[in-house]
Amino acid sequence: MAPDLAVPVAAHQGFSLAEASLVTINDSYRRVLADGVSVPKARRYANRRPLLRGCGVASPASASFASILAGHCARAALADRPGPPLRQDRLAVILGSALAALDPSHQLELCGLREGWDLIDPFRFPHTLPSACAATVAAAVGARALTLACRDNALASLRAVDLAAMAVLHGRADHVLVGGAEEVSDLVLLLLAASRRPDFLSPPGVAPSVPITEIAVVGLLERAHPEGDPGVIVIEGYGEVTGPLTEADVERFRAAFSSVRFDLVLSNMASQHHRTADIRAAVEALLEPPTEIVHTADSLGDTHGAAGAVALAVLAQRPPGTRALVISAGRDLRLGFLVASRASGAERLV
């Protein structure tokens, strides 16, 4: 992708993201995984049923937990929108998620291997597809336009926002429920422990230094009102840099930062994350006071595919007029950049 921020900044001007709805289930489910912890065979959903019932899908107990969270957020996002109900045939769902389909797949595989393939839950089987999370949300709110999932790990929800803007731009939908949803299963914790990565691995009995967080953030993206919508988040553009950060990349950032003023930089990089230390240092070196930098992973943990949407939710809490650069570092240090601002209402967006 073009590493020049100046180009994508203009690409999607005029889209707004209503204040994102944030649901996070964190401490109640996080487990400390040290050597010797076994994955329980029993279903673990008993304590979730009140929330499961709320999502309104046909077989809620079969859906992934991430999709339940996302459905809850989507309903809240729609409820928060003033005005008449939206046309369902113009309402789309585009979600970023890397982990949502893992646990259903893992559970069914284990069931098949241990107890027989004829015993796997047919209602849970569809939720082994990464797109099931978006489809479940669509079913919960009756969204009948474009529905798809973006699987690109930590970049997933930033790309989902970009795809959503593209969908509106091309007339494929008028409104898009967009964001990210992630689920932390025992498998995820097991794999993280197996990875022996110092940023995830801690001494026995101590929580991982960068906890993985179960979270969903969904906002409603649509064309901005021509006269400006006070308070909404305006998506101004998206771009990516691939591979390790080079000197040339840094120079381009410097040029971009000198032409665009940011009040806030939101990144998904945790302070103790050794792999992204160089990138964090490069970005921080470019910023001048009073620009504030927030590494969302420091306070919320690793929200993985939902990270970009989480950043927008943080921006939604800031005063109108705040302009932010959202940075997500993904696999192989691929970097996604989204420029977004909280509209003051004074600007005209056409």
Binding site: M1, A2, A11, D35, G36, S38, V39, A58, S59, S62, A92, A98, L102, S105, H106, L108, E109, L110, G112, L113, G116, W117, D118, I120, P122, F125, P126, T128, L129, S131, A132, A135, T136, A139, V141, G142, R144, A145, L146, T147, L148, A149, C150, R151, D152, L163, M166, L169, H170, R172, L187, L190, L191, A193, A194, S195, R197, T242, G243, R331
Partner: protein, 407 residues
């Protein structure tokens, strides 16, 4: 949308590598149904699938290999344009349906093995790179590495069994938005054990064979395959560039109803088809042939028949259902039928649909048991539907069609 040029395509199918092999196999109309032997199937109700003929050397080919070979073929067919993909802002759009990467299957076997009484799962028993492998898209990564496309914009899209069509549509939008300068769409599916077992559990598999739109149809069979396309903006083509076909329109909808079942009346399918035709600036009367989704299940085919009956009215366009021959290759299914659709535009032939008689009473399409020569094949409708009620259609046009429509 503005027409997007299809400059090259490739395929890997039960008939072996190559778009031509797929096309000739489909024209011959002989499905190759075999018993699954690539993994233990004890406990599964139905264990037949559409697999490679025994005459071909590799019965089970790694899905990454299929994807790479299909991509290589597509690039080679793109000629000079394909040769310069390395030097432009390239977008790689990867489409797949299932959430069970091979790496997860291997880890699950490991986990199940260690979880015998007295043997808890130990992280140290798992490979350190398991996290990255399970989260990564190993097939997409293999393609990126094989062609040194590590710097490309790469997007992994999942829209269940509509994935390939949706990736084509997203790639077209990305080209028109100037997000990328060239696009490669890659779709590939193997025969995941969990998918086979899951389809069996939901009662979707046939004990005999796939007979789409037959009144006697009784289910589908899972197949394997890969397809790849090189796409370009019309404005970027040098004079004299050979264009295989044009992508004229894309439409998608969601039933928003049920994780598995389609909406009985096919309203969502109809909406996707109409959206694709509108996108292509075409009316239903201008569609010369239809590559149906046609899984062979009772409900899916009935919904599609009703949707297309409303779209086409009294017209009875020619149609083909290649799942009758190559089975249901999940996320890659609409990609493989798009390859055949391009071949139809080039040759004027439509593959047979074996076993279609007696025809489903509500189906108004014209299937043929023999290769049918179409007098005029300038536009093709290609359908792909998936779990969760995701419906997609694309419209393909022959190499000379963009001068008269869509521009």
């Amino acid at each position: 949308m503005k027409p997007i040029a299809i400059l090259g395509m490739g395929a890997s199918s039960p008939f072996g590598p190559g778009a031509q092999a797929l096309w000739e196999g489909c024209l011959a109309g002989q499905p190759v149904i075999r018993e699954l032997t690539s993994y233990p199937t004890s406990g599964m109700k139905q264990i037949t699938a559409v697999l490679r003929p025994s005459g071909l050397s590799n019965q089970v080919i790694p899905v990454a290999t299929m994807a790479i070979e299909a991509t290589r073929e597509a690039i080679a067919q793109s000629g000079e344009y394909g040769a310069r993909l390395q030097r432009v802002r390239l977008g790689v759009f990867f489409a797949t349906a299932p959430g069970e990467p091979d790496e997860l299957r291997l880890i699950d076997e490991e986990v199940a093995g260690f979880e015998a009484p007295g043997h808890p799962i130990l992280p140290r028993n798992l490979p350190p790179d398991a996290w990255a492998k399970v989260l990564g898209d190993s097939v997409m990564d293999a393609v990126l590495r094989a062609f040194h496309w590590e710097e490309a914009y790469c997007l992994s899209i999942s829209a269940a069994c509509a994935s390939a069509n949706v990736a084509m549509g997203v790639a077209a939008d990305a080209l028109q938005d100037d997000l990328v300068d060239a696009a490669v769409v890659v779709t590939a599916e193997s025969l995941p054990r969990l998918t086979q077992a899951g389809f069996s559990q939901v009662g979707a598999l046939s004990p005999t064979g796939v007979r789409p739109f037959s009144a006697d149809r009784n289910g589908t069979l899972v197949g394997e395959g890969a397809a790849a396309f090189v796409l370009a903006r019309a404005d970027d083509l040098a004079p004299g560039t050979s264009v295989l076909a044009w992508l004229l329109g894309f439409g998608e909808s969601c039933d928003a109803l049920h994780p598995v079942h389609t909406e009985p009346e096919g309203r969502g399918m109809e909406a996707a088809t109409r959206a694709a035709l509108t996108d292509a600036h075409l009316g239903p009367e201008q569609v010369d042939a239809v590559y149906v989704h046609g899984t062979g299940t009772r409900q899916n085919d009935l919904s599609e028949a009703r949707a297309l009956s409303r779209v086409f009215g009294e017209r009875r366009p020619a149609a083909a259902a290649i799942k009758a021959i190559i089975g249901h290759s999940l996320g890659a299914a609409s990609g493989l039928s798009a390859v055949c659709g391009v071949m139809t535009l080039k040759t004027g032939l439509l593959p047979p649909t074996p076993g279609v008689e007696p025809l489903e009473p509500e189906c108004k399409l014209r299937f043929s048991a023999e290769p049918a020569s179409i007098v005029r094949a300038r536009t093709i409708l290609n359908n792909g539907y998936g779990f969760g009620g995701i419906n997609s259609s694309i419209v393909l046009g022959s190499s000379d069609v963009s001068r008269s429509v869509g521009t």
